[in-house]
């Protein structure tokens, strides 16, 4: 309460932690003047589970299932990043076929993540129907991945030195059918969403991020690509068998929400291209490295391995002291860096814009909280 006569212009609006548009338990403390935001302070950590601390108290294999639970939407990229880091540390060679399978499944998972984002994002903007269209498509991917990984969401499929289960003809046929299906759907999304005047008005020139801001805030993923920087780990720091595939890195021009949206849509088409090529070129052979030790006990040293998830760069930093447990694991998650720019770009926008901007960052809150 304040004294009578004393004028108070601003007030605080608690946006979350329980709010339909924060996609998880994220809280943003807003200083408001009318409907305009004068200050936005994200408050994170509601879902902190201490993954990094868990890592120090488990051996390398035991920590693997945690990787499906950091970013539950693109879990396979986390599987891949962690496995590659450990493989690098121990010098394990992954057979070619296993690398191909990893790429196919990780790209399918990427599309699933993007589809969910498109749907949930449009729901934020008040369009309900695209959400169900996207989920309808995504369902196909979940069914496919269910076949090989055994789970639909928190995958734990890759192992040190390869993958435990081979893909079969039915999976491959299902992938090809899905590629054809999704390619046909892009036009629907275009007609329903991209050309919609209300959607354009809500996203054009809103939440603009400059290249300079990208560097200072260490943004990665569609956030930088929307701003016109062609930075994608799959191309910039090629890993696995990605260099063997022909694909492009879509980028935007203005760095606004619309560009980030378009980048993600076009990325799905590129992922389809990668999957198609990988299916064509899939070599025969083993799916696990021959001599994988029962006890992973790398020599002392450290390693940093980056992979591109649907949200940006996931970096797995492992310090080993020559023990069966890692001495320290740092998970560099993309959403953490990406969200930190919110206070800067949310100022002087409306609440409705905040919803649009926050959605366009594509945060996965458990990933930020770890």
């Amino acid at each position: 309460m304040h004294e009578p006569g004393q004028e108070e212009k601003t007030y605080v609006l608690n946006f979350g932690p329980q709010h339909p548009s924060t996609h998880g338990v994220l809280r943003v403390e807003l200083q408001m003047e009318g409907e305009f935001i004068t200050k936005a302070a994200p408050d994170i950590g509601y879902g902190h589970r201490g993954h990094e601390h868990m890592a120090e108290n488990r051996n390398y294999q035991q920590f693997l299932p945690n990787m499906g639970r950091v970013d539950y939407l693109h879990a396979l990229a986390y599987n891949q990043g962690y496995c590659m880091a450990v493989e690098k540390l121990t010098g394990l060679e992954v057979p070619e076929r296993a690398e191909f399978i990893r790429v196919i499944t990780a790209e399918l998972n990427r599309i699933a993540s993007h589809l969910l984002w498109v749907g949930a994002y449009l729901l934020d903007l008040g369009a309900f129907t695209p959400f169900l269209y996207c989920f309808d498509d995504r369902e196909n991917i979940l069914d496919l991945l269910d076949r090989v990984t055994g789970s639909r969401l928190t995958y734990c499929y890759y192992r040190f030195g390869g993958v435990p289960k081979d893909i079969d003809d039915e999976f491959m046929a299902g992938c090809r059918a899905f590629i054809t299906r999704l390619r046909g759907r892009f036009k629907d999304y275009d007609d329903l969403v991209t050309k919609n005047i209300i959607f354009i008005k809500r996203t054009r020139d809103i939440g603009v991020i400059s290249k300079e801001q990208c560097v200072r805030y260490g943004l990665t993923g569609p956030m930088v690509r929307g701003s016109g920087i062609p930075y994608d780990i799959r191309k910039s720091e090629p890993y696995s068998v990605y260099p063997r595939f022909d694909f492009e890195i879509p980028i935007g021009e203005r760095g606004d929400i619309m560009d980030r949206y378009l980048v993600r849509i076009r990325e799905m088409a590129q992922s389809l291209r990668i999957i198609e090529q990988a299916l064509d070129k899939l070599p025969d052979g083993p799916i696990m490295a021959e001599k994988v030790p029962k006890r992973i006990k790398p020599a002392a040293g450290e390693v940093y391995q980056a992979v591109e998830t649907a949200r940006g760069e996931f970096g797995c930093y492992i310090v080993s002291e020559g023990d069966i447990k890692p001495y320290r694991i740092k998970l560099r998650v993309p959403s953490f860096g990406n969200l930190s720019i919110l206070p800067e770009i949310a100022v002087d926008t409306l609440v409705a814009d905040l919803v649009a901007i926050l959605g366009s960052i594509d945060v996965v809150v458990p990933e930020i909280d770890r």
Binding site: I44, G45, E52, E302, A306, Y327, R328, S340, D369
Partner: protein, 148 residues
């Protein structure tokens, strides 16, 4: 070559160590070691080369903390790591003024390790509740899977 330019720029700062890294083994192109007090200058030099702060974290060794800074570039493949050994009784120096990205990373390090950063604008806990009285990633925190 960006790595050569970075090495040259860092050499000017008279750091403890600046050398090429074994990319195939560690994922680093440039490895450097610096005093925590030198970090703002290092950060300025890295920003001048167009690099972004990829990650900032710490490791708790029995005798000291080591702050680990990773830098990478959008333009060219080149990852730089800077290790900064920090005496457990001393404060680190914040690089938030150079890289706003460091703001949250430093808060996280403070939260999990209890390392204070001089010059940080808003050093509060970020992941744990504000009233927590522990720093879980310190090795003396204990709590293994069996006794947690």
């Amino acid at each position: 070559m960006l790595s050569e330019r970075i090495k040259k720029a860092l050499a000017l700062l008279k750091l403890e160590k600046v050398e090429g890294g074994d990319y195939g083994k560690t994922g680093y192109h440039v490895e450097a070691a610096a005093d925590p007090g030198q970090m703002p200058e290092v950060a300025k030099a890295m920003l001048a080369e167009g690099c972004f702060l990829e990650s900032l974290t710490a490791v708790d060794y029995p005798a000291h903390f080591t702050l680990v800074y990773h830098f990478a570039s959008y333009e060219e493949l080149c990852r730089t790591v800077v290790h900064a050994k920090l005496d457990k009784r001393l404060m680190a120096t914040s690089i938030t003024a150079v890289y706003p990205a460091a703001n949250w990373y430093e808060r996280e390090v403070y939260d999990l390790f209890g390392i204070k950063f001089a010059g940080h604008p808003d050093l509060r806990r970020i992941l744990l509740p504000l009233e927590a009285d522990f720093h879980p990633l310190r090795k003396d925190f204990g709590a293994t899977a069996s006794n947690a």
